[in-house]
Symmetry: D3
Subunit: 237 residues, 6 copies
């Protein structure tokens, strides 16, 4: 029995609200249950120096949590001189995941920065970030097409992400914080609209897991992502 | 004529929404027009070391802007090792302003951290932060009273803040970004519910100002704060 | 009764000694009683990058205290990676105050750096810094005129600063450390030679203050600055 | 055809040389072909503060590359104030992987620090580090048993790691640098002596991969780890 | 011919002015010609943690230059997070040199911090610092004896320092900046009142030097230090 | 009697192994007894910006210790934002010492970086680094000559370094850790193949030393360096 009474393959209520940030080229407030992330996409005409002369663009991501997104207040990272290892790991994952479905040369020598700021955290913030960032990025590209900055849409297809885990011996979809902190195995999957796998990360928190257990998580994730992709398509329609 | 067509002594639409952060002891989403700040109050049983043995508590504040709160994306401060001078100046101002109306010994040896995170910035973020933080702090103290952590309410009275300025030769109340960036003189006032002045900061952006000009700003501020205090009282009722 | 036995409107002994730093283009050792600040003005032919192409110059300031300027030794800021919030607040105030009386296009695309290093601190270090920096800046501009680097003097008029406060219920001028640490209200005023107000900062340390109290401080400050401006004029004559 | 002419399921020459660091409680110089990592295990009687009172120990890891381990010299991280995101990601992976096979209460309230310093880098440094660190940790525990610091061996079983990837359309085992930089998909596997999976990380560098492709990599990894575990057992015999 | 027209074995005019810092337990403004250093000695009842339980005290030093002590303005080190290598090298030298003549157990478990802040720099700032710091330290110990904090004077004997160099083929004493920047060999000597050598640092700036050349520098230094020690004794009399 | 039973003028067993780093242009693993340092020389076509237009090259050095090179594990410097004072002092010494024998214009506008990473530390790591770095640099220049990047060998002559000290009243050569930590006086000498002195650093750890004592150390050093230079010549033959 899951703490939230959900079925093993049941997502939390998902919402994807587009256009929430007045000044950003693209934005999306994504909720996976009580997890809420504000994703914005910012067009920067001047990308990083190593982009110059390559004829293609770049998509990068930054991730942060508001100090009181969590049950206990978390210290701001501003005083430590660099994002924590966890933060850097997450922002690199978000960037890689979105770039996997973007036609970079179609952007031209520009950079899109995806900012994922967690307003409230109840597990799954990185997967919610990827899912919402795709919507913000889509809105940003539409904005650029409307202004004839680009001619074709650089997005090849949707991409979304979900966590799965083995909780009390049972594979379950979309872990909330209560499950996440007690799961024996915890895995994140980033999967495209056409079912291709972009990233797989599985970690045994307690005892090692078997190939069969891992495959049952992968199957749950594929079903979950298929639902997320439907919601993404509605959000940008 | 103001860019927003407001009368010289007219505030922007103000909202103070309490209880928006599920996990915080107190919270308030404050809007001054398009400026939106999420204020949370976090109770920390263990305050800073210098508090020990003093028999009184402390209220401190931290302030930050989401990178895309602004028209142009702002770089995160996380990579610079310390908040910028502007950020530190603002967070010290917020802390000082709220402490001015708190009976610190009534809190006991605890600390309340007020986090003011700017979701959207259209001028006046520091004054909106002070005004919203008071509501979050009030909710936090109520939470503590409900759990018998404190017996009396440590808040002596409301405190709110507003900016004024001389824009195209005319004193005006509650500058938005368009006015703020063009004003000849810019002043912030922090004033209590009973009309006492807690903080005054006036700066000539262009040519120096006269005593009379300064007094006309102070009078606008007093009227504006009186309206803000009425809204604070409704928000916590 | 003031600890120093001064009358409420009496300044401490003020000295402004020009030309004390052999290698600087301009310099002034300023004393407000036991507060001593060494101010130097350094001409940098190459200003900050954002100045290029603007056709105007810039004046900026840096502020620091020697570790044993104070009664108790203060730790050097060098190990903390950035000046403290207080230091940054002060150096931005000094820069803003001096720029208010400088004709920036008359400097050309150059930068003047004003270094204010507190040798001994007995209250009022930021106001002494502003007052002394004006003398150093004047000497620097004279040096530049002598070498035909600039043709007209970019200084429009003098600017000086003084602190006032309410000490034991009475408004007093030019707080020393003993008064400063016990004052109920503390305010700094930056005022030009012609009486224009450049900056006003008033803070209630204990209970909030009234409009009348604030006006009595402003009047004291105007008288004090008038005396400082006379001394500045003598120092540069 | 692999650049090294190896068969798809062929490891590079592997060596595990124990006892190479005179002063460390445990050490191992591990080579996967031209990749060489010096692993040391250091016993610290005083672990991190949060360990106190828990009755159990901790195993942590640090990872670094000598500047000229690589084809082009890499800048030292010492000037940047914190290890890079990549470094932190790797050292957290090493620590997690080793802790998965350690009985932490059997260590007592002590910490073992595993230092993995890459002397020469030709791909697979993180998997070589995990494999060598297990040998160093084994030697450290033997040292502690010899001195009666601990009574039972806290190591439950071996753990080793290997990378696999899809190179020119074919799944291959143990990527060297030439393959790693050209692979379409890149995955790291951490697997125990009894075949349990501790960590799985798969990333599509170019186009997304399918479930079948991923499974073929997992099967290669299992075979590779089985060979590594045999070598580990010989090294500590 | 030396740029200053001094004889090869002639010191610059030396002054040692005691008691210049009102709040410090000991202080000395030392001048070697145009080089001026303000040295203060601060008693800290609470030394570094590793001192506790040792029954002895510690003397440490910090060194810094005002930004416009030099011909060209030098950037403050505050923004770089740590003193430069040169600064650290100098402050460790000053500390070591003074500790060589202090009876540390006679101080008790306290720390004296020697701050050497260069007001004006014309070569030889580190040797001037050591020479002046001894006077400040002497004054500090006298202050402690007057208050019966210590019973015997912990200073065993004077210590002073001087630079020598080979300038245009000739060994000369007490290099100023013009000589220092052109010398072929540059050496600093720290020598006690009784002629014992505490520290020797010789560096070939151009071609290597011979044993004979080095000995001629050492002899000049001994004569120079003997004169400095006489001036120190007068200063503290 | 020395702890190692060596004669007072006896070096530890010295080895200089060339070509140990596969990817570096030059490398040398140097051992002075149990002290082992891996030295690499890296050619950088693009030197520091201040080199541009000077027509000459530069040689610089970086130094670090592996955390478990020492008897007790040493914390990595990566978290402190800058190398320690000791590290910076050593790397500046290594760079200066090697530049003393290099004809910088013969390199062209290029930079050679010498990395000296201490694998195991038993005293004398800086002198071993200088001695080994010369061999690595020699190999790097040969590599450049083979590729016709330079036409003449920029090395004028060998340079090597050795420590000496007064241990239990007796001058001894090549201190190991046991002697170094107990020596009354400790000195490092950098001397060229033709006997010229490049650098002399002598420090009294306990009581000051005399001129005669210092001269006896210098003579030991000259003999020791002569032996090291013979070994260097063999290593590069």
């Amino acid at each position: 029995m899951r703490p939230s009474n959900r079925a093993p393959d049941e997502l939390r209520p998902i919402t994807l609200e587009r256009g929430v940030a007045r000044y950003a080229e693209g934005s999306c407030l994504v909720s996976f249950g009580n997890t809420k992330v504000l994703c914005t996409a910012s067009l920067e005409e001047k990308g990083p120096p190593w982009l110059r002369g390559t004829g293609r663009g770049w998509v990068t991501a930054e991730y942060s949590m508001l100090p009181r997104a969590t049950h206990e207040r978390t210290r701001r990272e501003v005083n430590s001189g660099k994002p924590s290892g966890r933060t850097q790991e997450i922002q690199r994952l978000i960037g890689r995941s979105l770039r996997a479905v973007v036609n970079l040369p179609a952007i031209g020598e520009r950079q899109i920065v995806l900012d994922c700021d967690v307003i409230q955290a109840d597990g799954g913030t990185r997967t919610a970030s990827i899912t919402g960032a795709w919507v913000a990025l889509h809105e940003c590209f539409a904005w650029m097409q409307n202004r004839s900055i680009i001619s074709i849409n650089p997005l090849r297809e949707p991409v979304a992400a979900i966590s799965c885990g083995i909780y009390q011996g049972q594979p379950v979809l979309d872990l909330d914080y209560a499950e996440d902190s007690a799961a024996e195995t915890d895995a994140n999957f980033v999967i495209t609209g056409s079912g291709g796998i972009v990233e797989v990360q599985g970690t045994a928190e307690g005892k090692p897991f078997s190939e069969d257990e891992f495959l049952s998580l992968l199957r749950l994730a594929k079903e979950g992502v298929a639902q997320l992709v439907e919601l993404q398509k509605k959000a940008v329609a």
